[in-house]
């Protein structure tokens, strides 16, 4: 099939189940990138991903410093896992990640969500995970479009040229 025969992507439904900086930002960058291209975007936050839309947590995300073989020291040397367990290391690494992204004009989580919804993107929370973590709607970021069951979310993922992406 040549490129000209391809039908352009119309909608992406993105599911984020983890609450680390890299998982959440991958989700946000993809959702924002979609709306900027005129592609509809709906994002479903579940399990630990709920931290990204929980007021008290959303701007305090961390990146894990243990068990990540791709982690490097500044300069490129390997980052020994044993260092990652020391107090303060995870916070320091996380602050560094955020500052590196800020240099590329990548905003804090709440502002990023505002950018996505300004473009018509929709943000949803998973009902099951909310119940599990004993979260209420008022604990969530104000721009959340709703708390949905998985069935309700799938109900929003119809239409041709729609893709579901699990970050």
């Amino acid at each position: 099939m040549s490129k000209t025969d391809e039908k352009p992507l119309k909608k992406v439904c993105i599911i984020c189940a983890k609450g680390t900086i890299e998982d959440v930002y991958a989700t946000l960058v993809m959702a924002n990138g979609a709306v900027m291209e005129g592609i509809e975007a709906k994002v479903f936050f579940t399990f630990f991903g709920l931290d990204a839309i929980t007021k008290s947590q959303m701007n305090k995300l961390h990146t894990g410093t243990v068990g990540n073989p791709a982690m490097r020291m500044p300069g490129g040397l390997p980052f020994p896992t044993i260092l990652g367990i020391l107090p303060g290391v995870e916070a320091g690494v996380s602050a560094m990640m955020i500052s590196q992204m800020a240099r590329l004009d990548i905003p804090p989580v709440d502002e990023f969500l505002e950018m996505i919804t300004a473009g018509g993107g929709e943000i949803y929370a998973c009902k099951l995970a909310m119940d599990m973590f004993k979260l209420k709607q008022e604990d969530l970021w104000d721009g959340v479009n709703g708390v949905l069951t998985v069935g309700d979310f799938y109900g929003k993922c119809g239409g041709e040229n729609t893709q579901i992406i699990f970050t």
């Binding site: 960058v29 900027m36 291209e37 004009d105 300004a118």
Partner: protein
Amino acid sequence: MAEKVLAGKAVQVNDEGYFTDPSQWTKEMAVEMAKEYGIELTEKHYQVIDFLRQRYLAGETLTIRRVGNAGIVDIKGLYQLFPGGPLKISSKLAGIPKPASCV
């Protein structure tokens, strides 16, 4: 690379229709290109376009956030001015290359 006639002048554009030489751009060309998107240019559109050209020519990487913080219009407003491509379509109309940023 292709040649396109805009406002009675031949200009160089790439395969996606972005100018390869921003100095060939004129306001009249922006008006003509905007029509292809069904956009009628207003003062706000011109302010965004001017901002993009200035910053591009100054060598900056443009992001939607930077344009939204320029004091012209917020990000929601940008989507209303350039539906379906707040940074992409505005860059094309501004006669500058397609934005190379992921945000």
